[in-house]
Structure formats: structure tokens, C-alpha cells
Symmetry: C2
Subunit: 331 residues, 2 copies
Amino acid sequence: MRVTIKDVAQAANVSVSTVSRVLSNKENFFASKTADHVRKVAADLGYQRNAYAADLASHQSDVLAVVISATKSNFADEIIAGIHDVATKHGNSVMILYAGENNPTLQDKAIKTVIERDVMGVLIVALELGDESLNSLKTSGIPHIFLSTAAKENLGPFIASDDHAIGYEATKYLIEHGHRKIGLVGMDEQSFVGAQRMNGYREAMAKHSLSIDEDWLVPGYFTFEDGEAAMQHFGKQPAVTAIIANSDLTAIGVIDQARDYGLEVPAQLSVMSIDGTKLTRIFRPTITSVTQDFFQIGRAGCAALLTGDNEPIQSKFLPIKVVERNSTRQL
Amino acid sequence: MRVTIKDVAQAANVSVSTVSRVLSNKENFFASKTADHVRKVAADLGYQRNAYAADLASHQSDVLAVVISATKSNFADEIIAGIHDVATKHGNSVMILYAGENNPTLQDKAIKTVIERDVMGVLIVALELGDESLNSLKTSGIPHIFLSTAAKENLGPFIASDDHAIGYEATKYLIEHGHRKIGLVGMDEQSFVGAQRMNGYREAMAKHSLSIDEDWLVPGYFTFEDGEAAMQHFGKQPAVTAIIANSDLTAIGVIDQARDYGLEVPAQLSVMSIDGTKLTRIFRPTITSVTQDFFQIGRAGCAALLTGDNEPIQSKFLPIKVVERNSTRQL
DNA sequence: TTGTAGGCGTTATCAT
DNA sequence: ATGATAACGCCTACAA
């Protein structure tokens, strides 16, 4: 049996309340002398507090939960780093739960776990929650925020990049560099993110009076393989002069496949990615990207949850920027 | 206030015990008719169980904790995937805690959290725990296992690859392909992993009667930057014909820097990596590697913790293999 | 400044 | 098959 607050109290010849107060540092509610004594006894006995019991009694936990898709898009790390950055400063614990991807069962399980443990807040990262999960989360009353998934009105507060702007800026950049036939790879009209990016693309093209051949749009997801497959779709003599890929990994898939076709990037084909994670810098050619500030998204999301005030959390977009590297060229 | 088991009992006109039994599926201890009724009432009321209270009362949690270094080596994902694979099959929840890297404060905090929550088991991934953390973990009596960090005898049970063998096999592969002057990049004699790999290297060299110039050994860590820096150390006319890098990322750093020097890989320099994650397949040239089976390490580690028997966990090495790709060549 | 006692939501033990 | 009731370990009025 583990040593409890009671054991400590006994050994220190004080009451449990005193021990409790000392150990949870309720300043000004005990004499520093007794405090020292109690702390020593506790240490000697190897006392470890039971967080469950404490949370149960006090109705407040100090853990933030991050629910994240298992997707192999690599930006999650940066978001998590941002979350930790502010969480540790506030003395909060962070626990991460994987929810698979587009796997309602796993999502439900993760959300359920989170609710059952009555965490103080939930950060949902890069995940479009199913209705059921979303509902239980809402009715639970636990503060939560979506990160990197701006979404339909009623979803809840989010911090993300503006996916419409992402699609628009990428397209605009390429147009300004002389491209007229621009492919879009990996976007998925079904997902909110994908649809928004496509809209941005369409808007930029229209604004410059460029028409779109629907054959330039190759749907998919965020993976390397989606990039490869899309490039295979375009073939050895692509109808486009530039391609926007839905993630860094997807861009790499495109480039690798292009190279296998004997096409040089960017000499014969410009490729641009969305995300701008470290991959874009270590891969050769380095990859021009629409860069999102994932670290700040993590920080901001965590901060939003941690500001004590009970005001509803404000959704917001964080700035994006186009970073020019070596995978695109002026036509 | 959340709806509790008590509310359900009242609404359903039964006792709390009955509700508890039904809701936790203690088969054969209730009539299926009442069960249906209770379940319906619970659902109607939007009841959510409080895991803390349950764990507190029953003295058993169903959560496994993964304590992981924040290191940007990318194999962690695969280990975590493996862990989840078996955890979900057993119906266990998994929570992940980051512990920074070589950051005793964060480590302590993570371990403390884990102990306070009295999880059913702890998986420590790619982390060499400080003495203090290690001790509290040990005295807590919580089952734990080290993954991907085989270590000094008394550390505790582990599942990992044999780092000595890794160093040995990589070196042997290169020697058999005609290399005599082989560089070692990113190993750190202070860390157990690094030391083991270096020993393997030394043994393979000795076995083939090859002498080592200590200048070929460039210490470091697992990062991309370590690879770049090491290659800068070797310069434009490297004294070695092949380099073994401590991680895939480090290998990429080496290759990128070599390319910046105008050196072609593998024509003028062979580069081999340790890990064999997906990076080795998407990068060009694809990278020859000593491949570890991280997914299986995760699976095996989780399984070891979950087998109910109280026998001490057996440490073991999982097989590694050399996978030939395009970053090395026969001399 | 310290102690007493009740309660947090659940499970477990013992009756019935 | 079901119901009381006592834990579980801690926190927090309230009293002293």
C-alpha cells in the first residue's frame, strides 16, 4: 500500500489537513516550521501524492489533453512543442492522445477518455471530429479548441491558418512567376481544409483571368504516396508547369516521381508545398512553400485555454507566408 | 455539476450499486432487464463516468504512459504506433508525455505525473533517465520498460536493438563493399547508445585488421545539423570514403553538406544511416541504412507490460537488418 | 496556525 | 439480483 497523506500526518504528529496544506503549498496557512517538518517526514516516507484523489476532491485537474490525428504529416511535432512551451510555463501537464485518422471509433475513444478524466482543457490538432465526438465534447463543458483545423461555423473555436489564403497565396506566387497552368495535388473537396484551399486556388486563377482544366486537380490526402500518385497522373509530359502540393511530404512525392520521369525540378517543373516544415529545408532541391507557423499555433492554442477568464475563446487565423526556396522558378 | 452515478440511480429507481454494476459490465450480477433500463436512463441523462473516482476506488487504472524524449528523431512515431496497436487491442488508453531531452527537470516532472496518476505501466522511449527519475519510478513499483534504449545492467528491462550490433553491421557492410576509411558521425561516447555503436564499429574494423584514425570519429547527436557540421569537419576532400551517420536525419545532413561541397553521393562518398525510417526512402539518393524495427519495438514493449503475469519483464533485442539503397557503392 | 469532519464519484463488501 | 454502506486519498469549509 502506498503511503498516504494520513501516514505522513501520523508520523509528523499533525493532522491530515495540515499535511495537505503544506504539501499543496497553501501559503499563509501553516507555520514554516511545521511545514519543514512535514515536508521532511513526507520525503522520508517516500510519499507520492495521488493526483486522482486530489482532482476528485478539488474538481480541478492541471492536465491539458491534446487529441491528435495519427496522420504522418510531420507538423504535429511543432504544434506540440508550442503547446508544451506555454503549458510548462504555467505548470500544467500535457497528455497526448492519438485518434487515428478519420477513424470515428478511435476518436470517440480518445474523446471519451478525455472527458472521463475531466481534464482542464482539450486541444484538438489537425483533426476533423465526427459529430458524435464533437457533441460529447461540447456537452461535457470542457474548454476545447481546434488547432490547425479552421472549420465550419459551429465547430467551435479554432486557431489555424486561413486555408483559403493558403491556396490563394500559393497560386498567386506561381502566377506572378509566370505560370499559367498550375496543378493542385492532394486537396480533398470533402474535407474543409481541402475545399478551402481549392477555393483559394480558384479565386486566384479567376482573378488573373486564367482558366482551369479540371484535369489539373488531383485529389488526395497529405501523404508522400499521394504526391507520387498525382505525378503519375500527370505523366512524363505534364500539362502543367507548376504544382501546388497539399503538404511538404506530398511535394516530395511529386518531386521524386518527377525525377524518376527524368523531369528536373524546377527547370522543367516547379513544385510548391504547403506547410514549410523542416523537410522543405533538408530536402534537395529545397522546397518553396506556404509556411505556417505551427509552433505559434500551438502556443496560442494553449494560451487561449489557460487564460483563466471565462470568456469564450476567440477563433483566429495566424499569419502565413510564402517562403521562396529552390523548387520553383520564374518562367 | 455533472451527472453522477447517483443521479442515474435516482432517475432509474435503483441503487447506486446496481448502476455501477451495470455500467461497468459486471456480467451475471444484474438482470438484463434492469440493465437495459439503467443504460437508457444513463444515456438520456448524458452520464459520463468519472475515471478518477473509479480508479481511486478500484485501485486500477487502464492507462499506459509513454514518456518520450522531445528529440526530433522521427522514429518515435513508429514506436508509438506500435504501442497503440497493441494497447487498443487490449482496450487500454495511452497517454504520451514529453520529457524534453537531457532535461532532468522535465524528466522528473513527467515521471512525477506518471507516478501521481498511478498508471498501470510506463514505457520510456528513447530516453536515458536521470538517476532521480529512475529511482522514483523504481520505488513506485509501477511496471515499466525502456524502449529503444538498451542500457546498463541495472537500468531495468528494455526492448531495443543491439546498438553494438548496429555499429558492427554497418561497418561490416561498408568494409565488405571495399571501404577501408570509414567515418563515424553523431555518436556520443557519453551516451550508452553512442558508446555501444562505436564499440561495434571498432570491433568490425579490428576484425578486418583496419586501423582507425580518431579524426574520422565526429561526435554529435541525432540531428540534421550534426550531420552538416560533421561533414564540414571532413571538408571538401574527406579523408574517408564512407560515413556512418547516427540517424537518418544526420545522414541527410551529411549528404546535403557533401553536395554543397560538390561531392556526389555515392560516387565520391558513401553515406549510410542508422534507423531506416521512411526518410531513407523519400530522400534522394535513397539512403542505405541499418534498419530497426521500431513498430515491433513498440508492440513488444506494450505487450510485455500488458501480459498479466507478475513475472519480471524480460529484456530483449529485436533484430536489425542492413537495407541497401542508393547512398552507398562498392569501391 | 491547526484540527475536525464531510464530501468528491466510484467500487467493493456484506447483507438481504 | 439488488441495496446499504464503508472505503479510496485528498481537499476544504468550519471550528477551535
